[in-house]
């Protein structure tokens, strides 16, 4: 049984002048341990899809199955990482990381211990008492990552996590993300990452799902067989990047 399965999911938003179809008839499944990238032009509904998977919003039709059970409401075995980081500006790094743990009703002492573990893991040791506004963009996203990892989810959902960062910071964070994904002591083995940066998808993912725009349809499901660690100058890397690019371009 697949860990996660989307079955003919559609989503439309109603507004004053009728309905806007965002996603149409999306079906795919994700196995435990996979790193799946969803790419598409802006406005193709890929972020909406991530929110449907997390249970933040319901699908208009179709179903999302998690371990064979229909997702209804927030799926607590997923954790979401935001493009804008979405940290509470008035909470310290530690309090932000503890947010999800507090919601689970974990006792303060255990909470603190676990938060510290993940703050160390993302390399923010020593910044526990800092406020988000005192940190650089890359460090803020490390907090966002630590906050998501701290709840020890089965699936990590990432919505354009490195798009708001400068290119060099993004490269470092991508490498760190791969390290975390491959580390045996981490509970999270499955990652779904939404991005519009094609190279990012090719560098990270086992599989790339390509979406078209208005309405968002699944146009390709590509397996990435390039050996890790991947080199951007590699011929296969470039060939795949070109392929994804042309897939998106011909649908746009």
């Amino acid at each position: 049984m697949a860990l996660l399965e989307l079955n003919r999911v559609s989503k439309s938003f109603t507004h004053a002048k009728g309905a806007l179809r965002v996603l149409e008839d999306i079906s795919f499944s994700v196995e435990e341990g996979e790193l799946v990238a969803i790419v598409g032009p802006s406005g193709c509904g890929k972020s909406t899809m991530l929110r449907i998977i997390n249970g933040l919003m319901p699908a208009t039709s179709g179903q999302v199955l998690y371990r064979g059970r229909q997702v209804d409401g927030i799926n607590r075995e997923c954790a979401l990482v935001f493009q804008s980081f979405a940290l509470m500006p008035w909470l310290t790094v530690k309090a932000n990381v503890e947010l999800g743990l507090e919601a689970q009703g974990i006792a303060p002492a255990a909470r603190e211990k676990r938060a510290n573990v993940y703050i160390d893991k993302v390399g923010l040791d020593g910044f526990e008492e800092a406020y988000p506004r005192e940190l650089s963009g890359g460090m803020k996203q490390r907090v966002g990552l630590a906050r998501a990892l701290a709840v020890e989810p089965r699936v990590l959902l990432m919505d354009e996590p490195f798009s708001a960062l400068d290119a060099l910071t993004a490269i470092t964070l991508r490498e760190e993300l791969l390290d975390i994904w491959q580390a045996r002591d981490m509970p999270v083995h499955t990652i779904i990452i939404v991005t519009h940066i094609i190279e990012e998808a090719v560098e990270l993912a086992d599989r790339i799902l390509v979406l078209s725009t208005s309405p968002g349809r699944l146009v390709a499901d590509l397996k990435v067989d390039l050996p890790r660690p991947r080199d951007r100058r590699n011929e296969g890397f470039n060939a795949l990047t070109d392929k994804v690019f042309s897939l998106i371009e011909e649908r746009a």
Binding site: L56, F82, S84, A86, L87, M88, L99, G100, A103
Partner: protein, 557 residues
């Protein structure tokens, strides 16, 4: 100190002001259009003055740090002065100035409304110009765009959203004080000002409930029409000039049945624009057509200009010095009078009034905070509440004063509850509007994060909603207390069927001195204690809290 001098100067004129009985007020629905017109034209006149003032004052203050350091604190002080308390003084001053004609009372009312409108508009213009992104200024400078083009393409457009928004607030405040002025003139003062306020008061006093309701309906109609025909289209138009690229700007200003009427609005906006744009353009063209004027080529003009400037600055300086000297002299003369025994009761009265203010503030908080929290959870509720609250909140509470007081006096026999209720009407809307604005600005991704991590409702309030609305709670509180002090003056002393109802407090003391004993010294001292309390509260409590809050609960992340 300056306030004291101005006050004393005002009261100096009292001796010259002849007692003036205004026109007879007939309470009949037939005369209602006339009264409505009287009130409306006062509002319009005051607003026009406030607009000109803000367009001169704001840009000037934004020109340099040195100007800002003087001009912005001056506005701060002006804002914290309870305007209503100055009305009797203003009447004496303007009536004397107008040689005892009725025009003086009119001028006093317009002046008072002006003071309730001008400050926040001027601040709005100042802030708008100050927050223009440096890039935009540099872009125009790089094209070599000069003064007029810069004004037309950058400075004025940048002011539009803030100016329109603050104009709406200013009209709400203006109505409040206009009605207050008119009520005061019917009540204890010796002047009459025909208008909706005086009509309402007179109708209430004579127990004519039908006419009272007709008057309230007329007022409500004017306010709703203004909102639908002028303010809604203007705010939509003003949206074009915003700098932010806010993604989640759902239209909250729409009220089904009024939409049809709203269609009239864009037409009017278009008409206004079709008149204004040619004027602006022709000035621009004319300015471009004339060769660049080089004053250096005409030495006489240069010298004349210099002389003129020296003369202007000199005369302003002289006038200021004269005003200050005579003000201080008047102050000293007033203070030299024997101090009445009542002075000793001022501290106790201040405490009594403070307690009433705190009670009203607590009641306001008790319903507005839950409202804001609920609005942050349910966009639907927020969408429905906003237009209703806007209409209800823009009805000047002063218009309901006669009704409330008479009702409460009949029920409880005393003024205490009525007084708290009246202060409440002056406070609650500022809190509600600020809190709703704060709640609507909570970023969607923070809400999503709280939900995604499974925060309970209570935990979301604690971690997200409440911290996020703290800055707007404080802004709202500061304005609410400002409104409260004004309402206090009106609320502790009430004349109904030639019987005076009053409670023990600073406002009542001020009114008593103004209307009954006419003791200039007492008026001066009570007003000064009020200003002192307001300024101290602002400096020692609100400002500090606000600084801490904006530092800690700012929405940058």
């Amino acid at each position: 100190m300056a306030v004291a001098a101005i006050l004393a100067l005002f009261f100096e004129y009292k001796r010259h002001a002849p007692v003036l009985r205004g026109p007879h007020l007939s309470v009949s629905a037939r005369n209602l259009p006339y009264y409505a017109f009287c009130s409306f034209y006062r509002m319009l006149a005051a607003y026009a003055l406030a607009l000109i003032f803000s367009l001169v004052y704001g840009p000037t203050a934004a020109r340099s740090r040195a100007y800002e350091r003087v001009m912005i604190p001056a506005i701060d002080i002006a804002q914290s002065v309870p305007v209503v308390g100055f009305f009797p003084a203003a009447i004496y001053f303007f009536v004397a100035l107008a040689h005892g004609s009725r025009l003086g009372v009119e001028l006093a009312a317009i002046f008072l409304i002006f003071t309730s409108q001008a400050w926040n508009m001027a601040l709005g213009v100042f802030e708008a110009i100050r927050t223009i992104p440096q890039d935009s200024i540099e872009a125009l400078d790089a094209f070599g765009a000069g003064g007029w083009l810069k004004l037309k393409r950058l400075l004025l457009p940048a002011c539009v959203p803030k100016l329109v928004y603050n104009s709406i607030l200013s009209w709400v405040a203006g109505w409040y004080y206009l009605i207050a002025c008119e009520i005061i003139t019917v009540g204890p003062a010796h002047y009459r000002l025909p208008g909706l306020g005086s009509y309402l008061m007179e109708a209430a006093d004579k127990g004519r409930s039908g006419e009272l309701i007709a008057g309230l309906a007329a007022l409500l109609a004017i306010i709703i029409l203004m909102d639908v025909i002028v303010w809604q289209p203007l705010s939509t138009w003003a949206e074009k000039f915003r700098y932010e690229f806010a993604a989640t700007s759902e239209p909250i200003r729409s009220l089904g049945m009024l939409e049809a009427l709203g269609a009239v609005g864009p037409g009017i906006t278009r008409a206004v624009r079709s008149v204004l744009i040619p004027i602006v353009n022709s000035i621009h063209r004319a300015q471009r057509a004339t060769p660049p004027f080089n004053p250096a080529a005409y030495p006489i003009l240069v010298r004349a200009g210099k002389a003129l400037r020296v003369a202007a600055v000199g005369s302003v300086l002289l006038l200021t010095v004269y005003g200050l000297v005579s003000g201080v002299a008047a102050l000293i003369r007033t203070l030299m009078q024997p101090w009445p025994a009542e002075v000793k009761r001022i501290p106790a009265a201040t405490i009594a009034s403070m307690l009433r203010m705190i009670a009203a503030y607590a009641i306001s908080l008790a319903w507005t905070v839950p409202c804001a929290i609920y609005a942050s959870e349910s966009p639907r509720f927020a969408r429905r509440l906003a237009p209703i609250a806007e209409i209800v909140g823009s009805v000047p509470a002063t218009a309901l004063f006669p009704l409330i007081v008479i009702f409460v006096i009949h029920v409880t026999g005393g003024m205490n509850l009525a007084s708290i209720l009246l202060i409440l009407t002056g406070m609650q809307w500022y809190l509600l509007f600020n809190l709703l604005a704060g709640a609507s600005q909570i970023p969607a991704d923070l809400k999503e994060a709280s939900r995604s991590f499974g925060l309970s409702r209570f935990a979301t309030w604690r971690k997200l909603t409440l911290p996020a609305i703290v800055p707007s709670l404080l802004t709202g509180s500061i304005t609410a207390w400002g409104g409260g002090w004004n309402a206090l003056i009106l609320s502790e002393y009430f004349v109904y069927r030639s019987k005076t109802y009053q409670v023990f407090g600073l406002g009542a003391m001020l009114d008593d001195a103004t209307y009954r004993s006419g003791n200039g010294l007492m008026i001066l001292l009570t007003l000064l204690s009020m200003v002192l309390v307001v300024v101290l509260l602002n400096r020692l409590m609100w400002r500090r809290l606000y600084d801490v809050a904006t530092e800690r609960y700012r929405m940058d992340y």
